[in-house]
Each structure stands twice: as C-alpha cells, then as structure tokens.
C-alpha cells in the first residue's frame, strides 16, 4: 500500500510541483527556500559567515527538532515533554563516534539518528500505556532519568559525566558556509518528509488516533503499532537535529543536550508557530533563535528563557493556532491583492 502510494506520488511529481508552486503556500515556501539557498553567497565578510550565518544554521537545526515534536504531538497527539531524550542521545552517539572512534561526521550523524529511533522504540513502548497529560509527565520523567544518569559521577567512565565530550573534530566542516548548506539540505529533506508523511494516508491514521483513539481502534487500526511508529519517526528527525546540533557546538554535555530546557525549546518553537502546521515550527524556531540572539547581543542573556516562557504562556492562552496562521493570512490577503484576485 505504502509502496503504491509513494510510486504514485513520484509519478505525479512534476505536475504536482507545477501546481504547488502556483499556490500561495507553495510560492511562499519556494521563495523562502530560494532565499535560504542564496543567503550564504551574499557576503564574504567574516562577521557575516561566522556569526550571522551560523545563527541561521542553528535556527535550521532547531526547526527540524521542533517539526519532529510537532509530528509526534501535533499530528499524532502524543504529548512529549521529553523530546530532549532523542536530541541528546543522537548528539552523544554522534560525538562519541567522531571523537573516540574516528568516524566521519556523515556516518556519525546517521548512526546517531538511528540510535534516537531505537530510543523512540524503547521509550514509545512503555509510554503507550500513558495518555495525554500522563504521557507528558512520563516522557519528562524519562528524560530526567537520562539526564541524571549522564550527570552521575559514578557512571562518568561510561557516560562521560557532567563534562560530556568535547573535541574540535566534532563538526561537519570548519567552513561555516559548507556547514550551512549541509544543514539546509537536512532541513529541506526533513521538512518535505514530515509534511508528506502528515499528508499521507499514514498521517491520516496518526491524526485519527490523535482525534479519538477509541474510534481508531474501532476502525480496525492497530493503534499501538502506529503510536510506536510515530515515536520512532519523530525520534528520527529529533535525532538528526540532535546530531547536527552536536556537530554545530562541537561538544556535548548532559544539561546542554538532555536538559528539560531543550525539550521546552521544541515545545515552545512548535507551539509558537502553531501546532500541527509543521511549517510553523520553522517560523517558531527562526523567531526564537533570532530573538535569543538579539537579547544576547543586547546583554540580556539571562532573560532569554524568562521571556520565552512568557511568550509561550501568552501564545497558548490567546492564540490557539500560534502565530503562523495569523501571519500567513495577512500575507495571503496582500498576495491576493497584488494578483488582483
């Protein structure tokens, strides 16, 4: 079934692409992609490439992470407050392989993401017994276990203790432009996959479980299996993001990669953009990273999380759909006006 669906998609791709670009959302997305591709060639300035461009790279990494959270929570309805698990595990595996086993970064990122999928499986299974808010706390508890295990002094021989792993070789490339381009590719591929998954028949099943699990059961769907798939798939992309993040920073440590704050960032970015929109995650992530950057530049670094917590509260309280939908609607009005529709 899945194979047919994919084959059909591939066959119809050229026509699909043409009509897609003509739609408002398609056009806008294409515009954003082209801008992102063009961006690194705008300037050779060291400050631009090594500082400004790297903020974009970071935002793209977190876009993937937030989108993976949206896939699990927004699309499949499984509230995760422990997404840092997948992010952190992949980062650690990746860093370990590069630093201790001399793996090339490509392969390390790949294996890291696979490791995250494996954790998605182990965590998904016991968590299946939990629903809604319990799942939120269960996953939070899971991530805290891992955080504490990694912080534990007595395990530092195996898990590297609170120092983590740090090595100049943990990077995709020492040229920030190359790094940017590679992460951009990861982002584009991840987003296309996640969006297509959420639009597919498989995605419809995930959404049906989110909307009413009992009813999905009664429709003959093996909900358990699909929920585990959702966990694994989401973990895959969270893992890609986590592994990329490890190479971005060049180091991993427990709080930086496993901390509850990391999970919070995913939640914040995705909710900011609007749950279930996937694309909103990117908007949320860019907004987040650049606001953070401006606050740091302005010397108000310690207020970053406080401000974000406030924003989350305000957005959740007053705007059910996050900020993406309202913004898009405004732009669409403008677009229609320009085209005289």
């Amino acid at each position: 079934m899945l194979k047919n669906e994919i084959e059909e998609k591939v066959k119809q791709f050229p026509t699909y692409l043409k009509s897609w670009v003509k739609t408002f959302l398609g056009g806008l997305t294409l515009f954003c992609i082209i801008s992102l591709i063009a961006l690194p060639f705008l300037s050779q300035n060291q400050n631009f490439t090594h500082v400004f461009l790297r903020q974009f790279t970071l935002a793209m990494i977190f876009s993937i992470f937030a989108a993976s959270w949206d896939l699990l929570t927004g699309i499949s309805g499984q509230i995760s407050f422990g997404h840092a698990i997948f992010f952190g595990i992949a980062g650690y595996i990746c860093a370990y392989l590069i630093s201790y086993q001399n793996f090339p970064p490509w392969i390390a990122i790949f294996i890291g993401a696979i490791g995250a999928v494996f954790f998605g499986l182990i965590i998904g299974i016991p968590c299946l017994r939990l629903r809604g808010p319990y799942l939120a706390l269960g996953t939070l508890a899971f991530s805290l276990v891992l955080l504490k295990l990694f912080l534990m002094g007595s395990l530092s021989d195996v898990l590297f203790g609170s120092e983590g792993i740090s090595d100049y070789r943990i990077q995709i490339s020492d040229n920030p432009v190359v790094e940017y381009i590679i992460i951009l590719m990861f982002m584009i591929v991840s987003f296309i996959t996640i969006i297509q998954v959420s639009k597919s028949k498989f995605g419809t099943i995930l959404k049906s479980i989110r909307d009413d699990e009992v009813s999905a059961d009664a429709s003959g769907i093996n909900t358990t299996r699909f929920k585990v798939y959702a966990f694994m798939l989401s973990a895959l992309f969270a893992g890609i993001a986590g592994a990329c993040y490890a190479t971005y920073v060049g180091a991993v440590n427990p709080t930086g990669n496993f901390g509850a704050t990391i999970s919070f960032y995913a939640i914040l970015m995705a909710s900011l953009g609007g749950l279930t929109t996937i694309r909103g995650s990117a908007l949320g992530a860019f907004f987040f990273i650049f606001l953070e950057y401006s606050l740091i530049v302005a010397g108000a670094e310690i207020y970053v999380n406080l401000i974000f917590a406030l924003i989350l509260i305000v957005v959740v309280r007053f705007s059910e759909h996050g900020i993406l939908k309202p913004i898009l609607e405004r732009i669409k009005d403008l677009w229609d006006l320009l085209l005289g529709r």
């Binding site: 017994r129 939070l140 007595s154």
Partner: protein
C-alpha cells in the same frame, strides 16, 4: 549498622511525609478536574525561595513569614486556575503546555534573582535543636514536620468526607455533569481544589525545606516528577494511594540512598524507575480503580 537503619527509617518517614503532602494535592486536582498541573512542583520550590527572601526582609518574624508565604502560594494557585487553566480546560494539551510554561517562568525568574547555586535556609527553622532517640539524634523541625504532616493528612481526610466543600469535591470528581445538575458550581470547586493543592505544597515546603536546602530553582521539576511517580504508584486520583504511595516512595528512596553504593545519586533516579516499573506491571497503580486515561 543500627545507625544506618535508624537513619533509613527516619529519612523514609520524612521523605514520605513530604511526598504524601505534595502528591495529595496533585492527585486531588487530577481526580477532580482531570487537570495535570505542571506547575505543582514550582509552588513547592517557590515557597522555599519566598521564605528565604522573606526572612531576609523581615528577620525575626519567622512564624508570620511562613504564614504569609503559604497564603501567597495559595493565592498563586488560585490565579493559576482562574487565569490559565480555566480558559483552556477543554484542551488537555493546552493546560499541560500553559502550566508547563508557568513552571518554567517561575523557575527562570528565581534563576535571575537568585542564581543557580543552592542556598541554605537552615536558620529559618521554627523548631531548632535535636532530640535523641535510641542513640539517634533527630532534628526537632523534622519531628514536628512528620507529626504535622500526619495531622494535616487526617484533617484533610476529614475535610473531604465531612465538610460541604469536601462533599462537592467528591461529587465533581465522581461525575462532573451530575454534580453540575445538582447545582454545584464545578468551576468554583476546581478553583478551591487547585488552591488546596497549592496550600498543601506550600505547607510541605515551608516546614521541610528549612531543614534541607534549596538546591536550585530546578528542584521544582524533581518534586513534580516524584509526586507524579507517587500518584502513578498509588493510583491516579486515589487519595489513600497518594499517602501510602508517598511513604513507600519515601522508604524506597531513603533505602537506596543509604544502602546502595553511590546511593545518593541513584536516589534521584528511583522515583523515575518506579514509574516505569509500575507502568509496565500494574498501570492502574496500587489503589487505582480506573485505567489510565
């Protein structure tokens, strides 16, 4: 060895007393309104810091400060319900997200004011000194706290079964729609429930923390997950379960931290491991009747 055993027993009861108080309110709120208040641990943590600051501002007025702080936290609980939970009640995700945001906000605020380092509030105990028992010396404050916790739990049980509000709380938790038909204002009952839960957390914190320490603003999460573990163990929404579960968890943690190698660091992981085991073996907990939903 005897020393160790005494130590384990005493700490077990002590941990149990803290967890019972925190989990009781947490479980109550869930049982009555299906509300998972992620800020519950933050109330506990905030109480500790308010006490610390309060005592710096009003030295020598310990008793009043404690009462004042408890009142503030109770009000914060009420505001959480009115401003954040009530408007989002229909969406579970919404309530979880927004109370999570609140907990994070409180944590970050304290972080800004106070920094990450742990602080001692040892000077702010209501009952200084120690008492010897079978050659084991116990902190008076803790003895008082353990007794107070037992008294509060009993009063609470009495309140739930006898008082008018207690009866409304039970009615709403059993069948909200029927309760509303009977003329009970479910929203008001929920408001009181959240306030009671914050009140219990504040009492636990203001009596227990002065003997322990403020280990940093992140400690709220630890208590949140511990009480989550307790209510999973005891059974969701079961008040007996939260008390018994609290004490069991208390003993398990104190046993781990005293008798296992590297105990103290493993003790943090214990509640979480208990959650996982219970979820796998008996998902409805020890006293729970309903399945998890």
């Amino acid at each position: 060895m005897i020393e160790d055993i005494m130590n384990m027993l005493f700490n077990g009861i002590l941990n149990g007393a803290v967890l019972a108080l925190i989990s009781l309110g947490y479980s109550l709120v869930y049982g009555v309104g299906g509300i998972m208040n992620m800020a519950h641990g933050a109330y506990f943590m905030l109480t500790g810091y308010l006490l610390l600051w309060g005592m710096r501002i009003f030295p020598g007025m310990l008793f009043l400060t404690v009462i004042f702080v408890i009142i503030i936290i109770t009000i914060i609980g009420g505001l959480t319900y009115i401003l954040l939970i009530k408007p989002l009640q229909d969406t579970h995700v919404g309530v979880v997200l927004i109370t999570f945001g609140l907990a994070f906000l409180i944590e970050q605020w304290i972080l800004i004011v106070s920094g990450t380092t742990s602080a001692s509030i040892n000077d702010y105990v209501l009952f200084p000194g120690t008492t010897e028992f079978l050659g084991y010396s116990m902190f008076n404050q803790y003895i008082f706290f353990i007794i107070a916790s037992l008294v509060i739990v009993s009063l609470f049980a009495l309140f739930i079964s006898k008082s008018k509000l207690g009866k409304s709380i039970r009615a709403v938790s059993q069948d909200r729609e029927a309760a509303v038909l009977m003329g009970i204002n479910a929203n008001r009952v929920l408001l009181y429930t959240v306030m009671i839960s914050a009140f219990l957390a504040a009492i636990a914190a203001s009596l227990y923390l002065p003997g322990a320490a403020l280990t940093g603003p992140g400690m709220g999460w630890t208590y949140l997950t511990s009480s989550f573990a307790v209510i999973i163990l005891g059974g969701m929404g079961s008040l007996v379960g939260s008390v018994v579960g609290g004490y069991i968890m208390g003993f398990v943690t104190s046993f781990t931290s005293i008798f296992l190698p590297n105990g103290p660091s493993w003790a943090h992981v214990v509640p979480l491991i208990v959650i996982l085991i219970v979820l796998i073996i008996r998902p409805r907990g020890l006293f729970g009747k309903k399945k998890l939903r």
